[in-house]
Every structure is written in structure tokens, then in C-alpha cells.
């Protein structure tokens, strides 16, 4: 029996509802939404790859002025299209005005990266301050991500800014790379929560949290792995795991549950394994501990079942 027929009476479906759902279920109405998005994404990626390869291959024949002019034109065209098509700025979630809009924006950002990279490699305009290209593009991408409501461009902005901070702070030798990463991650999480509280693109919070949490977990683990329990990073890791687990239950976001359990287990186990030298004891520990994790999580299975929606 068809699903719609079975649910018609139970759900009290109206005739138009039942007709539409029946069309969807039987494939009489078929959406290619995701497939079209995949085409745009693949297309944009191939274009960036092809343009990059052409520039590299024909560097001498084309000349720097031609290359930079073409790239500048491409960037202007992409951004021009986006500004022309986009609706007014909104602090809420806005849909893309056209199917290819997000990918044209992505192309513009990628071409800008190519132009900066080429200009610096050719003319050394900023020389040892080359990392300011990262800062410049990071800031621009932030602005574009908020203006056009694009989480992918926001990810690009975060990565560029992380790159810039990493390079710039190395000049000062005040902080090691992991402490910088932790501070940056904490700042990301705080910024995400701050903007969420003020309802400024609240749907971006996940992007900030995911980058922030992964970066924090990895930075802590990078110290816990060699040092075991005997470092200040271990209690911080434990506290962060508890925080992330709590957050996952509160928001019913089980991807956070997955990450925090895995990272917490890795940290704790590396501390334990640090004190065991026998390989069979390590196997026994892994066996007992993973069964313990399974049993503990399994006891919570009612809370972990799929949310209705």
C-alpha cells in the first residue's frame, strides 16, 4: 500500500495535500534541487581549477597586466552580479535570489584569492607582510558572508583570518601555535554566541561553533597526546567535553554529541595509555573502555533517538 493512502485517514490529510504528497511519493513530481546545486558547485570548482592551471601554464605568454585585468574583471563581474541580484540586507535568514547565486559569489571570492596570490608572487607588493592579503580577504569575505547570507563564504573568511593570525603572531613569539589556536577558537565561539544572542544571522552560529570547537579540541589534544594527564590542558579538555555534551542534548544536535564523545575519549585514553607499556593491556583497556562507552551511551538511547523533525 502506498504511504499516502495509509496516512490519509490517520493524519487527516486534505485532498490537495494528499494529491501533492502522492505526486511526490510516486515521483510524478520530482525535484532536482540538490542535483542542480551540485552542478553549480562542481562547475564553479572546475572553473577555479581550470583558470588556476591556465594561469600557471601560460604565465609568460599572457603577461601580468592581462592576467590581473582578467581576474579583476571576473571578480567585478561576480560581485556585480551578486549586488545586482541580492535583496536588501536582513539580519534573519534569506534565501538565494537565483539558483546559481551562491556559487557566483564563491567564484568571485576564489578569483580574488587567485588575483592576490598572483600579484604578490609577481610583484612582492607587501613582501614580508604578505599575510595582510589573508587579513584583507578574510575581512572582505566576512562582510560578503553577512551581506549575502552565505555560510560557505563565512567558512572561507574564518579560515583566512585564522591563517593571518597564525602567521602574524609568529612574528612576536609570545604565544605558541596551539595557544593562539585556542584563543582564536574561544574568540570564534564567543563571537558566534554574541551574534546569536543579538539575533544577527543566528543561523551562522553553527559555523562559528563548529570551527571553534574543533579547533579547541584539536589544540588541547595536541598537548594531551604527548603529555597525558600531567598537563593543564587535560582538565580543560574534560570541561570542554562536558560543555559540548550538554550543548548537544540541550539543542538535540547529535553531531556535537559525536564529536565531543570521540574527542573526550581520545584525550582520556591517551592519558591512560601513557601509563601502560604492555600491548595486550592496551588492547584490554581499549576493549573495556569502548564497551563502557557503548553501554553508557546505549542507556541514553531514548534521548538519542531521531528527533521527530
Amino acid at each position: 500500500m502506498k504511504c499516502v493512502d495509509s496516512l490519509r485517514a490517520r493524519a487527516g490529510l486534505t485532498d490537495p495535500q494528499a494529491a501533492l504528497l502522492d505526486d511526490i511519493e510516486t515521483g510524478r513530481l520530482f525535484s532536482l534541487h540538490r542535483e542542480i546545486k551540485a552542478l553549480f558547485y562542481l562547475g564553479a570548482t572546475f572553473i577555479v581549477f581550470g583558470v588556476g592551471a591556465t594561469l600557471k601554464d601560460r604565465l609568460m605568454e599572457l603577461g601580468p597586466l592581462t592576467i590581473l585585468s582578467v581576474l579583476a574583471l571576473a571578480v567585478a563581474a561576480c560581485y556585480g552580479y551578486c549586488f545586482k541580484k541580492a535583496g536588501p540586507y536582513s539580519e534573519g535568514k534569506t534565501g538565494s535570489p537565483t539558483a546559481g547565486f551562491d556559487y557566483v559569489l564563491y567564484l568571485g571570492c576564489a578569483f580574488l584569492g587567485l588575483a592576490f596570490g598572483y600579484a604578490e608572487a609577481k610583484f612582492q607588493l607587501l613582501d614580508r607582510y604578505w599575510d595582510f592579503y589573508l587579513l584583507g580577504s578574510g575581512c572582505l569575505f566576512f562582510a560578503l558572508a553577512y551581506r549575502f547570507d552565505n555560510r560557505f563564504v563565512l567558512s572561507m573568511a574564518i579560515l583566512n583570518l585564522a591563517g593571518w593570525l597564525g602567521v602574524r603572531l609568529k612574528h612576536f613569539e609570545m604565544l605558541d601555535v596551539r595557544t593562539q589556536a585556542m584563543l582564536f577558537a574561544a574568540a570564534l565561539i564567543a563571537l558566534g554566541k554574541f551574534l546569536e544572542d543579538r539575533k544577527v544571522k543566528a543561523h551562522f552560529t553553527d559555523t562559528y561553533l563548529l570551527f571553534g570547537l574543533h579547533l579547541l579540541f584539536w589544540s588541547l589534544l595536541a598537548d594531551v597526546f604527548p603529555k597525558g594527564f600531567a598537563c593543564w590542558q587535560f582538565p580543560v579538555l574534560a570541561a570542554l567535553t562536558v560543555f559540548a555534551l550538554n550543548y548537544s542534548f540541550k539543542r538535540r544536535r547529535f553531531d556535537y554529541f559525536l564529536y565531543s564523545t570521540v574527542y573526550g575519549y581520545l584525550g582520556f585514553s591517551s592519558g591512560v595509555v601513557h601509563h601502560i607499556s604492555d600491548s595486550s593491556a592496551v588492547s584490554l583497556y581499549v576493549l573495556v573502555s569502548s564497551v563502557a562507552v557503548i553501554v553508557t551511551v546505549f542507556r541514553m538511547r531514548r534521548s538519542l533517538e531521531q528527533d521527530p523533525c
Partner: protein
Amino acid sequence: MLRIFTPEEEQALFELEEARAWRRSELIAKEQLDAVELSAGKTLSMAGKAVRLLFAGFTLLAMGAASGFVGSCLGHEKVSLGAFFLLSAPAYVLLAEHLIRRHRLYRFGAEEGLLMGAAIQLAVGTYLVFSSGLDPYARQGSEILFTLPFLMGTLALYVRYGYAYAGIAAVFALAQLILYQGLTPHVARLTLSGSFAGILLAMRMREVPGYERERWDMIDACLCLAVYLPLNLRLESLANPFAVPKVSSMGHFYWGTLAAVWLIPPAVLLWGVRARKRAVLIVGAILALLSLMTLKPYLGLQRNPWDPAVLGVFLMGLGWALSRKLDSAPGWTAKQLLVPREELSAGALLAAAAAAVATGGQEPSSTPEKPRFGGGESGGAGATASF
């Protein structure tokens, strides 16, 4: 019935999941979903992808650790370890069956990990026990001792529990089995392709219930891939894009495969479109892309560095045309009809990978290196060129 779940149980869960998808997509009201949930009663338990992955991962980890522990106790002696695998595999299956029956688990990860682990242990155990006594000549074909039990195990998993990935693993195990038969390359390719085409045709005869349609579509799609891949002789050119193969001395087989490589994708696409099979449609598009990308090497032509850009423009153009014209085609739409659950986003994986790379153990140096501006080092803004 061989299936552990009754059709009524699977149908009830399928209907509930469909109703939830409709609610997510705002096609029905909350009260309507509540009514469906109430009337559904107690259905099978299903977890989201993240929880399934967690359970399956830790279960496989525990099974690996148990093998490691027993292995170290037995002094890593192959036959004894193999015997342990063969003895423990049925025990794992029994445990999984117990969990499924006791807690009414449908897709929860732990039982899936146990069952997939059991299939792997059956294969590895058979190989370890029966290959050790073979003389070196006979050992050349001993891979069959792994592949055959793996094929049987994964097939059994599909039949008994309906795991689509077990069915897909069985398809690839069958391909391996054919390759071990010592056939000449041409015959092996034709046998592979022909066998999978035969299975595909045979499978079309079966009447599939609604709750199982998506799984069968995925296996159909996988079989289409398995028919195509052995016939494309230039797939290796994707790894070495600027090599120019010589084609002047190629025979009928070579040109025949070129024809097949250009006939199969439209046929698969057409089937996907007519039967409204999403997985088949996607595989058809992937095959068409592979045929396009391997055409120049097939004809012995030099690739140009701008070829990917031309292909990219074509793909974006196609996307643009489809998004514009599709809504006027009856039965098709470019709009999103059903909203998927937000689980394990690609962004999260990107974030995890970036964080792992960023904190990957480099100690700070006093003089920052200048970048080469290669392949996405500046967070996606960088390109693939290395100036």
C-alpha cells in the same frame, strides 16, 4: 521470511519517517504529524547518522581490541587467531540479533557494527585458517579465501537486515571474485561488465515495496557504476591529466569500449529519468562526467589546462538552464520539495579537517614562511595554481 523485521514493522517506520519529512518541509501541520505518531504506536528504534556512526565506530573499535587482546595472548599465531575470528563471528551475530529483538533496534549503529565486524571476521578468519597450509603456488589464488566468505557474509546481511551498504559491498566483492579468475584483461573487463548487467536486468524483475525502494535504487546505481567502470580504459588518465596516450595501434576492443562508454551514461540517465530513481540519475550524471573527462585521452589528444574551466562553464550553464526551464516541464521542479535532516554537515567535516591540520604539531618558528599560493591554502580563496 529471512528478514528479521516484518514488512509491517518496516512499513510503519517508513510511514512515520515520511510524515516527519513532510512536516519538516511544512507540507503537513504539526497536529497531523502528532496524529500519525500517535497512531503509529511503538515503532522500531532508529538513531540519526551521528549516533549510528558513534555506536558503529566504538563497536568496531571494541571488536578490534578484542582481536588484538586475543592475538597477543595467542602469540599472534595466524591459525589460532583465524580460528578465534571464525568462532567469535557467530557470537557477534547472536549478540546483534539479541540487541535487535530485545530493544527493537532498526538502524542504531551498535548492531550494525557487530554485524559488519562479523562479516569481516568471517572473511579474515577463513583466510588465516585455510591459507596457511597452502603451498606458494596455490597461495596465488588464496585471495578468494577472503573474498568469497566476505561476499557471502555481506549478502546475508543484506537479505537478513536490509543494509544497503552491505549490498553495495557484496557487489564489489563479486567484482573482486571475477578478477581473481585469472582471465585475460579484456575478457575480465567484459565478464565483469556483463555479469553486473545481467544482475541489473534480473533485479528489475522484482517487485519492491515502498519502504525498500530507496535501498534498491542505491544498489541499482551501484550496479550501473559496476557495468561502466571496467569498460572505461582511460580512467587512469584522471590521475595523470597531461599524459598523451598512443592510440594508433588500438584494436576493435578499444574502440568498442569507447562506444560503450558513450552509450552507457545516456542509457543510465534515461532510466533514472523515466523511473524517477534519484540514485540512478546521479550515477548517470557521474558516468557522463567521467566519459567527458576521459574523451581526449581516449582519442589520444592533448588536454589543455583550460579544459576544466570549459567543463565548469558547461556544468554551471547546465545548472542554470535546468533551474530556469525545469519548472515549466510537467512533473519536474528545481524547487526543494523535501527538506533533509541537518546531520553531519560537510562544513563540520571541513572544520574538523582544518582544525586537525592547523594544530598538527608544528612548533612555532620565528620567521614565517611565505606561502606558495597553492591549492586552497588560504582557505578556499587560494586556487590550484602554484605560481
